[in-house]
Every structure is written in structure tokens, then in C-alpha cells.
């Protein structure tokens, strides 16, 4: 049986959820649409960097970093405790074109908030 065609999907660990991304949607917007609580202070302004994810696989399926996100990653991300800053993206700016797996601690399911 042929696999069903599917759009971009972001697997989030350790919570173990799959987020489908609509055209133009970022990771955090998909999470919000599904009712998840995702760490953030600035709610999507690429300022606080609290929403950042570690990309475990499928980095090539993420749209390239643009100026706002670049500025935040280069100048406002505290790298203490981050093993490899080159694998960090902001969930409020990253858009996917295919299958991606990211690590994000602190994502909370709707019924637990």
C-alpha cells in the first residue's frame, strides 16, 4: 500500500508528539493551534529565544534562517548548556518543508495545562 501523501511534520521529543505544519506556519504556531503550551516569553517576536529547539534530524527540511532569527541566535541566545549551537533554531521562526525531529523540554499537552 502506498504511503499517504503528507505535508511537513515536526516530531517533538521528549513529549513525543507530531506537529503538522500548515503552509507558512512555524513550529510554535502549529503547537499553539493544537493547544500545546510551549515555552516562550515574547510570544513569537524572535526576541526571548525561550522557544528554541535542538534539531536532532531533518535540518535540511527546515527553511533557511532569516535575518530576525539570525540576529536572535547570534546575539540573544544564551549558549550555556547547549552542546552544539549550530543545531539550534527558534520555534517561532522555523518553518518546515519535510520531516524534522526536534528536542524541546517544557512542552505541555492541552489537558495538562
Amino acid at each position: 500500500m502506498a504511503p499517504e501523501p503528507r505535508g511537513p511534520v515536526v516530531h517533538v521529543v521528549p513529549i513525543g508528539i507530531d506537529l503538522d505544519l500548515e503552509p507558512g506556519e512555524t513550529i510554535i504556531e502549529s503547537a499553539w493551534r493544537h493547544g500545546y503550551d510551549w515555552p516562550t516569553i515574547c510570544y513569537g517576536q524572535a526576541q526571548c529565544t525561550a522557544c528554541h529547539v535542538e534539531v536532532l534530524s531533518g535540518a535540511e527540511h527546515l527553511a533557511p534562517v532569516e535575518a530576525e532569527e539570525r540576529d536572535a541566535l547570534d546575539h540573544r541566545l544564551s549558549v550555556t548548556g547547549i552542546a552544539d549551537p549550530t543545531r539550534i533554531r527558534l520555534a517561532c521562526r522555523a518553518r518546515a518543508t519535510g520531516e524534522v525531529t526536534v528536542r524541546k523540554v517544557g512542552v505541555v499537552a492541552p489537558d495538562e495545562t
Partner: protein, 448 residues
Amino acid sequence: MAIIEEPRTTNPARVVPYAMRDALHVPRERYFDREFFELEKEHLWPKVWQVACREEEIPEPGDFVEYEICDDSIVVIRQADRSVKAFHNVCRHRATQLCVGDGRLPGGQIVCPFHGWRWNLDGTNSFVFQPDGFDPSCLDPDDLALRECRVETWGACVWINMDPDARPLREALAPASPFLDAVGVEDMRVWWWKETIVNANWKLAQEAFHEGYHVMATHPQLTFGAGENMPRGGQEYTAFANGHARFQSASTGTDGSVAPPGGADMFLQFARVLWEGQDAMTLERDVQVFEGVRNKVSENENFAAAAIGALIDYAQGAGIPLRTSPEAMQLWGGEIFLFPNFFFLPQYENALSYRFRPYNDDPEWCRFEVWSLTMYPEARPEVRAKLQGRYATDDTENWGLIPRQDFSNMARQQRGVRSRGYVEHRLAEDMERAISNMHLELDRYLAR
């Protein structure tokens, strides 16, 4: 000329310095005096309906744009139900400016960067960090809500008024706005949008656009060699109530006679010089349509009428909602000024639009925005409009010849009104009446 005089305010709340004494003179101090400028900041801008943004700057829910006027910053936000709200852009805690420039609020939250307090898109407070640290009297929900401005939309623009007791927008825009409804400004969208900073008072700068009298000397290319023999007339100037004004073709003919007489060559040359000179009012598409009928019209026919007919056919075929009532066509090539600082210059399915604001709290500088608008086919999706950039007044790459010619007079006039040898403007009764009409309305605001 129709002049509708309003009675001067009886028992004014204050005496306005450098007040207008008649409709023919404008005292020079109105363009640089600090006290006069402060009166405008106190009694004009917080009380008057003004364009905060074009609707397509915030097409999607959560889109915001900051509107700055003198000391005030207003954030205009598209709501989930696609209505628009506007708020004083300041945190209720310790005054931090909330939103800057333009952008999106994808999480539906306005967040203060200082202590993380938040508001919903409708201005209600949604989060105070560690609220038990505050006396309950400081956290009254009604008092925590962002302070709202009046908002109405018209002409594809979002208008705000900081005065809760202001009359409705359409009442304030009367009787001028129906003429713009007739040409369909509601259906026009941004072709390009640029701005410049001008070393001139905001009123002085905008007065460059209140008349066609300056065309002979400032834009000699538009007289096609007629020069000082350029005939007077052909234009009808009207000063309206509420400070608004209009000029337009004096002819009410429905033959499409919107260009100078002179047959096909002159018509096409005029179309081309407008397109090349400002990429507005006449666009490349219009020139192509006009040139397409060049060889299909006999010597005896009215070329302008045939060209306009071709444009109407083209618009119908392309799904462009061009308006062709006699009233609309009479305004093509003319102008409507909406008090205090906004213009539309419609032509065909296009228009120029201008907005002037004081800049940097300085009476002698202003921020001048120019929009070239056009109608797109009705099926086109809404595209978020963005300012292309801020360009110097002499930037030949980014400003066409026509606007550069207009800019060139403004700083020189500002130097002039500072001269001890100068007292006041002397205005043409008819052609420059829109200028004094604006100032007389301004005095009514300042005296209230």
C-alpha cells in the same frame, strides 16, 4: 467656486496666536513657531481623525503597525474577527513602549519586554507576572486594559481618533469622501509606497500639492512648451467645509477629455511623461493600452475618448473594477484633500496618495509619505503592504522627476518664512483657496 463658510467658533477656549485674519493671507509664524506647534500637538492631533495606516498593512489577524504622531505612539492591530482596534502603545505598568514598527503577533499576545506583562489582541490584560506582589487596587482589570482609540475604516485606510467624544469619521470627512467613493479608492491597493524627510513644516510641504498653479514653473515638462502661455482655467477649485478641498477638471463631459487637447501624439506623450515621471496615476499598463489604439483611430475621431474606451474594455476583461461614472471621470487628474494631512489624486484605476506628519518634534521638519495605488484584478489575494524605503529628496534612483521638482521648493520656502523680510503668504483667491481653507479649519481646532 463653491465656498462653504463655517461660523467662527464663538467663545473660543483660547486665543490662537498668529491666527488667520482672512482667506488671502497666511502668517509666516504658523510654519515654525514653537508655541503654535505645541498648540497643534495639544488641540489638533489628539482631536482629529487621521489615517493611521492602510488596511493592507495589516491584512491578517494579529498583524500590527505602529502609528506615530508627535509624542504619541498608537498600535493598530487586526483582530481575530478581522475588525481593527487601536491602542495607546504603552505598558500599563511602567510605561515601556509595547510594539515597535510593524509585525505579527502570532501568539495573540502583546508582551511587554520589561516584566513580561501581556495583553490579548483586544487590549484586555491576560497576564501579570507574580501578581501577589501588587496591591489589588493596582491590578483592576478595567484599569489594566490598554487605552483604546476610536477606529473607523474608510477608503481602504484605518483612521484613528484619540478623542473618545469625536464625531463619526464620515461626518468629519463630509462632504469630500463621496467623491472618492465614486472613483473607487476603496478598491485601490499599493503599487509602491515610499517616504522622505523634508526640511519644511508639515503644512508648508503639503501646500505644494493644493494647486496646479505651480505646474508652469515647477514642472515645465508638463506644459509641453507652452510655458508662460499655459492657459488658465480648465481646473475647478472647491473649498469644502471641515477643511477639505478639491480641484478637478472644469469640464463635465463624458468623452474622456482628461488630457490636454492635441490628438493622439499629445495624449500619448502626456501619458508617458506621467508614467516615467512618477510611476503613478498613469502606469505602464495604461500606456500600453493607449498605444494599442494609436493606429485604430482616424484623424477625425477624439483620440482621448477612444483611448479611455480601450482602457475601460481592458479593465472589464481583466476584472479590474474601474469606475466610469461622469462624476468619477471628472475627478481623474484632480485631487481631494482631506483635512488635516491626507490626499488622493485619482486617475483611471490608479491614484497617488500623500500623508504629511511632523517629524522629530520639530516644527521645521516633516515626514512625507507617497503611495502609488492601483486596482488589481478582483481575484488577487491581499498582499501585506510594506514601505519600500526612506529616500532623500534628491535621490534620482528612487524618486521620479515630478516629485523631485516638488521637493526642491519646500526647504527653500522654509528658509523663506524664517526671513525678517517676510510677513505672510498672499494667496490667489481661487487657485490657492484650499490653503487658507485648511488654515481656517486648523484655527477652529486650536481655539476649541
